[in-house]
């Protein structure tokens, strides 16, 4: 697989923060509102021809971040830059931004208006953006790019008349019609049947290669990241805790949370299972110090104390720091020990095996 050209980032996030005021307690006093810090200072970048997987559990803020990238959710702080230019806040600037950055939804059945034909759904973006050109041709081109051929056969169909996989292709076609530079795909295959997923992922890979798209895939599935992503960023409670090239992160994770996540992927038995207790805390009450420390296996097993970092874990907020070439993790343990000694043994990274075992 060819490496994407490491040019300047196409899309860049700098210190993005998104918070919500939640005041929906039944008995609470009307004025008492708590703030949920859904995205808490995220730096991220994607280049042309690169697929970035944004991984994490539900409630980690990955979907909010995706919406912030689309300008659908205002960020209280930080900047979202496209080709180095910050995203504007006026409705005109937002519309321009949304022509170049397109969103693919998790559930294609719900993301298509049941009263619109497929033609109208795909043409909607063109009409909204007043794109010049023959609408009919542009729609046909987008549909066939998304693998719906011959496109005319789908023009007058309604979403409920095509299959789930085809609906997702319609959504992708609707995004492609505007010739975007960036695709943000929020769990693009999790609502699809298992046997259909591969084809949609293949399509995304093909679009990346042929159109040079930058694609951000929001997912909870690390196996999916293994199949398509160039880079993986792992989110926990609104913060990116580890960011590295996919091969490195998935085969030798540095952050204990990434390790735990990887260890519980079924049929990934090369590592001993590290099942974390409890569930991700509420973003209204983020733990002090390292936000992961109450569930961290390093703290629980006493290894943090042995390394002499336990105090820092409970009191200091770790920043995402370089932990090897082109990778970063937000963990104090990274600063005091050699990463390779800590990571559990994994399969050997030998790219030649790919060709040998490819069937």
């Amino acid at each position: 697989m060819s490496q994407p050209d490491v040019s300047a980032p196409l899309l860049e996030l700098r210190g993005v923060r998104v918070s919500f005021a939640t005041s929906r307690s039944l008995m609470g006093s009307p004025g008492a509102s708590t703030v949920a810090q859904a995205v808490d200072g995220v730096n991220l970048s994607v280049s042309r021809g690169e697929i970035l997987a944004l991984a994490g559990e539900s409630g980690c803020g990955k979907t909010t971040l995706a919406r912030a990238i689309m300008g659908l959710q205002p960020a209280q702080e930080g900047q979202i830059l496209l080709d180095g230019v910050p995203m504007g806040k006026t409705s005109r600037a937002l519309r321009r931004h949304r022509r170049r950055v397109q969103l693919i939804f998790q559930d294609p059945s719900a993301a298509l208006d049941p009263r619109q034909t497929i033609y109208e759904s795909v043409a909607e973006g063109l009409r909204v953006q007043k794109t010049p050109g023959v609408e009919r041709d542009l729609v046909a081109k987008a549909l066939s790019r998304a693998g719906l051929r011959p496109p005319e056969r789908f023009f007058t169909k309604y979403p409920h008349e095509v299959s789930g996989g085809q609906r997702q292709r319609v959504l992708i076609a609707g995004a492609l019609a505007l010739e975007p530079d960036v695709l943000v795909a929020d769990e693009p295959v999790s609502a699809l049947d298992a046997s259909v997923r591969g084809e949609i992922l293949q399509l995304l890979l093909k679009l990346r290669d042929e159109l040079g798209l930058a694609i951000i895939i929001v997912t909870h599935d690390l196996g999916l990241a293994w199949m398509v992503a160039n880079r993986v960023a792992v989110m926990y409670l609104g913060r990116i805790v580890e960011n590295a090239p996919a091969e490195d992160l998935l085969t030798s994770p540095h952050h204990p949370y990434t390790k735990a996540l990887l260890s519980v992927v079924p049929e990934n038995h090369h590592q001993e299972q590290m099942i974390l207790s409890g569930e991700t805390p509420d973003p209204t009450s983020i733990p002090s110090g390292c936000r992961f420390h109450p569930r961290c296996p390093l703290v629980a097993s006493g290894q943090a104390r042995r390394l002499g970092i336990e105090d820092r874990c409970t009191s200091e907020d770790p920043q995402l720091t370089e932990s090897g070439s082109d990778r970063a993790a937000a963990c104090f343990a990274e600063l005091v020990e050699v990463p390779s000694a800590q990571s559990p043994s994994t399969t050997t990274q030998d790219p030649t095996r790919a060709t040998l075992e490819d069937s």
């Binding site: 109208e120 973006g125 909204v128 051929r149 996989g165 084809e199």
Partner: protein, 342 residues
């Protein structure tokens, strides 16, 4: 599905109808299927039949009786018999009006060929009940439809704006809705009638002003549901403006609810018109079923045994309201998938 390269040569344009035309054709088709579903609904069809009958009567009113036949002056001029029962052959012109009491008295026998036939009898002013019923149907249906139309415009507008934009706007509109919802509407009608005078327009305004909050609440709830649908978010992500989203995404998807609600509101509006007229707040110059009932009441028809004066407008109101309700439920059953499988 094939997985050939994404950048593919386009097929040569074929001589197909334009996508818009095809979409229109698909819409017609889906309308056709909806109609097919409706046709299988016995209740709905019965309602439609009754309704058709009354609409036909309302439209054909001028053919049934001249407009003047609903005027008391006309009846007096022609010396029509007062409060005679249905099916009476009554001597036309055989009556005289007593100049002192104003009552009409039989002047004498008249030849058979001058006798007139009153199939539903006459009212206390001597007007033919047939004329009153036909022209009354016109007024009742018109008032019902116009009032409903206004109700829908106000209700749907406020409901969609509140539900879609949310926040402060929604709070203000929701309070406004609540406020109008609890207004004692008969009192309002009396006050408005006193201020604006008695006219059909005022009746329509009163009905619209008092019945929109129910629609607004319903539409707001539906708009809230639709607004959270991913396809609305998709439109926004494509760069659509609020106006585009409201008119293209929200409205078409809220429309079935509005439509079903409209039909039920017409029934209520007709009932309200009758009630207002019955209470003497109607337009004294136009004849509706409600005013007829009111006159029967003040004449003492209920105690005097002139049942033919009370029953036809009463049955008319009941049947039309029932018919609209039946149609409304049938439409609701088709548009609301949750009710479909009962």
């Amino acid at each position: 599905m094939t997985t050939s390269p994404a950048t593919d040569e386009l097929e040569p344009p074929q001589n197909l109808p334009s996508p818009r035309a095809m979409a229109m054709q698909r819409r017609r088709q889906s309308l056709h299927t909806s109609w097919g579903q409706y046709r299988r609904n016995a209740l709905g069809m019965a309602g439609l039949l009754i309704l058709g009958l009354f609409v036909a009567v309302a439209i054909c009113a001028p053919l049934i009786a001249p407009r003047e036949a609903t005027s008391e002056v006309y009846a007096a001029k022609n010396n029509q018999p007062i409060a005679v029962g249905p099916g009476s052959y009554c001597p036309g012109g055989g009556f005289e009006t007593d100049p002192v009491t104003g009552e009409r008295v039989v002047a004498g026998q008249c030849p058979d060929d001058e006798k007139e036939f009153y199939p539903l009898g006459t009212d206390g002013a001597g007007r033919s009940m047939v004329a009153l019923m036909a022209w009354g149907a016109r007024i009742s249906l018109t008032v019902g439809l116009v009032a409903t139309f206004m109700t829908m415009i106000i209700g749907a507008g406020i409901g969609i704006i509140g539900g879609y934009f949310g926040g402060r706007v929604d709070q203000v509109l929701a309070r406004l809705t609540d406020w109008f919802l609890v207004i004692p509407w008969i009192a309002l009608a009396i006050v408005l009638a006193a201020i604006l005078g008695q006219s059909l327009t005022n009746i329509i305004i009163v009905i619209a002003v008092t019945s929109w909050p129910v629609t607004a609440r319903l539409v707001r709830a539906q708009t809230l549901t639709i607004s959270t649908r991913p396809y609305v978010e998709r439109s926004r992500a494509l760069g659509a403006s609020d106006w585009h989203i409201v008119t293209r995404r929200v409205l078409p998807n809220v429309f079935p609810v509005i439509f079903a609600n409209t039909i039920l509101t017409v029934a209520l509006a007709i009932l309200s018109e009758s009630l207002l007229s019955f209470l003497g707040l109607g337009d004294p110059l136009s004849v509706s079923w409600g005013t007829t009932l009111e006159e029967a009441q003040s004449y003492g028809a209920t105690t005097g045994g002139q049942w033919w004066w009370i029953l036809p407008p009463g049955i008319g109101i009941t049947l039309v309201v029932l018919a609209f309700t039946m149609c409304g439920y049938a439409v609701e059953e088709i548009t609301n998938p949750r009710l479909k499988r009962r």
